[in-house]
Symmetry: C2
Subunit: 210 residues, 2 copies
């Protein structure tokens, strides 16, 4: 395989990827926004997220801002803004804001230094906890703790699950393919001695749980 083909192929192998934009601001308040497909849940208690950055790539302004200010936002990409979100991956000069260049709106929450994306339907403020270097390919795994979440309350189900279809959240595959979703089912908590079964999409009520 030639190199371009190989990049698309290898990028497809892990399956669907999350689509989020990382919002940051430098110490001089230059805003930056970058689409990232590697945001991953790390744990609930404390609530941690991780994602991968390549320090020598278009991502470097994001990494510099996070290291300098200690905070960032993570903003889910939905079907109404995925083209603008993709456009944030262009190699803009450092003094330009991807918000302005792509028509997305930078908004602030309660004095938090990093801007969130006003058009996103789920945004979080995150505090940097740790940057782990993956020595094998010179990338950085950025780990942070969620400080606040802003979303549409109607999308939060009674059992806590956020209905991503209600938010029109998209997924990515390869480098550039975007997907919408439909729910197949929710499945019961798996136990060795019983077969897994479908549960209502809205979740089980407290007295249906065991």
């Amino acid at each position: 395989m030639d190199n371009r083909k190989r990049v698309q192929f290898i990028n497809s192998l892990s399956g669907f990827k999350s689509a989020n934009m990382i919002g940051t601001s430098s110490r001089k308040n230059n805003d930056n926004l970058a689409i990232i497909s590697s945001v991953v849940h790390l744990g609930t208690n404390p609530p941690l997220l991780g994602f991968i950055l390549r320090p020598h790539s278009v991502d470097r302004h994001t990494l510099d801002n996070i290291k300098d200010t200690g905070v960032y936002t993570v903003n889910q990409v939905h079907a109404g803004i995925y083209k603008a979100a993709h456009q944030t991956s262009a190699r803009y000069a450092r003094e330009l804001s991807e918000f302005e260049e792509t028509g997305l709106t930078a908004e602030r929450y309660d004095g938090f230094h990093a801007p969130f994306v006003s058009e996103s339907k789920l945004s979080m403020g995150v505090k940097l906890v740790e940057v782990a270097t993956i020595t094998h390919n010179d990338t950085e795994f950025v780990i942070g703790e969620i400080q606040w979440v802003r979303t549409e309350e109607s999308a939060i189900q009674d059992d806590g699950l956020v209905d991503l279809e209600a938010l029109d959240t998209v997924a990515v595959s390869g480098l550039d393919r975007y997907h919408k979703s439909s729910a197949l089912a929710r499945l019961s908590y798996a136990k060795p001695d019983q077969e897994v079964r479908e549960i209502p999409l809205a979740g089980l009520s407290d007295d249906e749980k065991d």
Copy 2:
């Protein structure tokens, strides 16, 4: 929020998650299979994947086997096997094989120690490269290099992208919600001075690239 609700909520925030099963075998050839929603692309050259394991949870047999033998497989979950895949998360005793308990088939590729899932439509053999401990919540980030890939050749597009809809690959949200997908579009490589545009789902031919 009570703890169960909080777990579902926090698990929803990163967006869609990949659905893969990790296949391992102990030094004594006890096979193990575990569904994991944190597999993430780390880089193309070398081809690296990462995923998160909790050493004190149901994942511990997987982690022990990987550390002992240095190899594992990653198997995409599709709509035809997602219930069996979910069932692998039950807390089976160490001597039981999740393959046998869930009706999935363990198969070997060319002397590779770890079994892959015969029913999966995309499987990879992976060699352990590094286990990074995330000190903040006592989880392990397992990093490996892809050694071989087995998939349906018809799903690999001319430009290298794997068509995940052709493989019926599913995505996960929260703890237990499974999703199928449909393609919105593929988008052109983003550049600062031009608007992003849709490209054919099958990709651009070589003379359409710039």
